[in-house]
Subunit: 566 residues, 2 copies
Amino acid sequence: MASVLEIIPLGGIGEFGMNCMAVRYGDEMLILDAGMGFPEESAYGVDVSIPNFAFLDEHRDAITAIVLTHGHEDHLGALPYLLKRFNVPVYCSHFTAGLAESKLEEHDLMGDVLLHRVEPRDVVDIGVFSVEFIRVSHSLVDCFSLGIKTPVGTIIHTGDYKVDETPVIGEPIDLRSFRRYGQDGVLALLSDSTNATVPGRTPSERAVIPAFEEIFSEARGRIIVATFASSIHRLQIVLDVAQQFNRHVCVLGRSMHKNVEVAERLGYLDIPDGLLVSLNDAKLMNDREIVFLVTGSQGESRAALSQMATQSYKGLMVEEGDTVVLSARIIPGNERLISRMIGFIYKRGANIIEEKRRLVHVSGHASQEDIRIMTEAVRPKFVVPVHGEYRMLFRHKEFVKNHLGYAEENIILIENGDVLELDGERAMVVDKREIGRTFIDESGFEEIDSETVRERKQLAYEGTVTVVVTIDEESGELQDEPRIVARGVRGLGTNGFPNPAGTSRAGGDSIMADAKRVVTASITGASRQTLADETLLKEHVRVELKRFIQKQTGARPVILPIIVQV
Amino acid sequence: MASVLEIIPLGGIGEFGMNCMAVRYGDEMLILDAGMGFPEESAYGVDVSIPNFAFLDEHRDAITAIVLTHGHEDHLGALPYLLKRFNVPVYCSHFTAGLAESKLEEHDLMGDVLLHRVEPRDVVDIGVFSVEFIRVSHSLVDCFSLGIKTPVGTIIHTGDYKVDETPVIGEPIDLRSFRRYGQDGVLALLSDSTNATVPGRTPSERAVIPAFEEIFSEARGRIIVATFASSIHRLQIVLDVAQQFNRHVCVLGRSMHKNVEVAERLGYLDIPDGLLVSLNDAKLMNDREIVFLVTGSQGESRAALSQMATQSYKGLMVEEGDTVVLSARIIPGNERLISRMIGFIYKRGANIIEEKRRLVHVSGHASQEDIRIMTEAVRPKFVVPVHGEYRMLFRHKEFVKNHLGYAEENIILIENGDVLELDGERAMVVDKREIGRTFIDESGFEEIDSETVRERKQLAYEGTVTVVVTIDEESGELQDEPRIVARGVRGLGTNGFPNPAGTSRAGGDSIMADAKRVVTASITGASRQTLADETLLKEHVRVELKRFIQKQTGARPVILPIIVQV
């Protein structure tokens, strides 16, 4: 076996989310992060995706450990699914472990899994690899970059990061360690590209405090703050400012409760006694004494804020006089949902404060000048932009090339499934694997294969027609008139004819009556050979009916023929 | 009949697009604009929606005319569908008529329709109403506001507008006429809210010229400009700058061809001889001699730009060295499509220039200071924000209240279906009608009822299971084992069992085998009464099978039972 290192991204390149990467040397393989994705297929009953693990299956005996940079869903969400297949030790921070544990409990995996909690600057030897955990700042707490020593050289994987010297919670980014690596020599820097299109520095988590102080001093009624449950710094700020302005805080929403509980238990959130109140107590309080800290900043219809805006969330509604703060960015794809929710909040007579109008949100990701600081500290031979859509990866490359003086051939753009080979001197993509994704049903636990999703798309686009033909087993003669049931097909059952009771929409509809004649004719006109072969006969009926429906209505539904032989 | 005016929006309030409004006095009704909407249901085979015309049907004898403010799809797209039902005269500008004609031709409606072309300041008497067409500036050309004199007072409907004193094509906005109305007294101003959240003035159409000149002077290869085909000012600018930099222009995309043709024929576009070249000629030219003016700025997969970025559009691909200019805003909901397309363009090695990086796009809608100019010119008694999502309508109200000194009760927020009654003194919503929308199939011509779309959503979300039960007509005994066909159902047909050929995914699958036993048991256990009544029997089978599938897999597919009696 050649002494080369292979880096194979299984997700997170050319897309937002689903960050997961394999790092292989010889017969040993580490998995870095195990993230969920947020696919566009949500109309088809799937909320999230995970990398398809077929590639890892091929290497199942090589996998030695899973190493997590931090606890966001796009880095952690696929962990239970991964562990069900490959039960290897997991290395991560205390807080990440806290979130992982509650996830593993939901999947009934606790007790079977070895979770190693590490501290900043801990170095863990895993076979040929040695992994150092380097503190970075991010919107979450207890986040790491990974310094991975391999036989061909050192790799730094930034995870998600920004350069924040004054985080609200915990230590600032450990630039000293990054510089130490830079002095010792780094072969490749795998670096977060999420904000590579954004000029300047990303503000510190503290930057939002003044806006919150203003909002709290102006508010004459209740305050409702919606943010990501995982934005622990933000939660601490809201708690602090609430305390300062003599308001109690009521936490609403499942994930908000979970994150607050884990963060407080592990000592990341500092919550004064008596600050938090239950919903029942909150309802009894004066409007000026309460802050609701809620989920639903993305307009998710089942989350607390949307429900408070449209109907009622546990008896609570947005009211006139409320101040609603959306302390979050808009995740691409959620624009319409969020805009609609804002409309409902306005309709309820509340005031609403968005990121665009006041500085109530800062990003957790490195902007261009943060990228400069990181890259100049680490001084890698190769820069490999990761985490982001292609436009971000390309802009990352452009920035490193135009502003940091890197040569084109030292900036490596890879895609999911690319096998990037490094031998200490050269870096090149030597193979391309088909990775794909596995969809997860919205119940959150069931895998859905992409064939099922493909079928749902077909059904969604043009509907379906089932045709049942009953023939005599011996003679092949039709025993009854064909039954036809349509669902979601335009022009069938809706052409001004009454829609009969029951599941069939056919009766009374002249197109359906004609369709039955077409099917009958296709049977009576079929050859003996066709009649004798169910597969042939089904295809024959399908083609004839498809042609007829398309000609009559322009529609191309999924046609399901069923032959009953009596 | 009371002498009151009724204003009933049929679309465009609380949503982007589908602008359409009825204005009624006694037994006469005008329809203002007939726009398409862009529904979120595109996953279900529908691209556009139109207002549901049931309300208009009730008043069909009252409808005297359709008046169009301008030719954008969100004001014009529903015209053919409206005219098919209510063939009344249409009043609009020459350019709007040009676009309307090509639309009516596609629908085979030409010859049956009376299109009246009007000039700025034309006044048309339509029964009790008198309508003046007032020139406004917008991204399209030949756009009007409407000054409508009614027995209870004057209404101004702005249509889409911005205050542009230096448009590229045609006269500037006719503020003098608006001021004249203001002096004579205006009862209500129905006013565009699209950009009511944006402070300041909207720049003139000319504002993008410097950026285009820079881009053209820097480009070393081909230039590809994507914009809305209807942005006629923008097209003229690209043509002018191309001429200035000695490049020829090749127009690509169906709607771009149509708009250029109509605009040139009617004298709105000034195209020097020889500037336009065919695709074949363009392919033979030097890279520095050509500009492609293309559709697809929203990342639409079938439009020219996406195809050039991903595969090939008539033999043309984006290449290294190309400069691609996205001269358009992102319509909410298209973010992911556009971002993906940009990624593909980067992957092809081209440079890409977006609105965020250079001033290559300006809006056609009034920002807050334009709203100030319009409102102060017209000085209406009532301001009625229209055209926009609720957040925009509310911000419009907030601006007029806080910055223009209007009292709360003189700013009327309405919703689709509200019947706003004006008697000259008071304005109030006296009734609320259910309007709804009609979906249009993507072929562009076929209406799809919302029941069909609802069915498609069900199918899309969990798939479908058809079960066929064959029973003896006399005895009610099962004649054959039940047939079960599943499509798009997770856990059926994919549990590690081979997927048999043909349409059924059942064979070999233990859940399916058990499901058949459940159906068989449900038949043998059914009462005589149930067996004798097909509707009862179907429901019985449906419920039993549904319960079993849900218990076994957690899935809740649409279940279609079919009973065959032999």
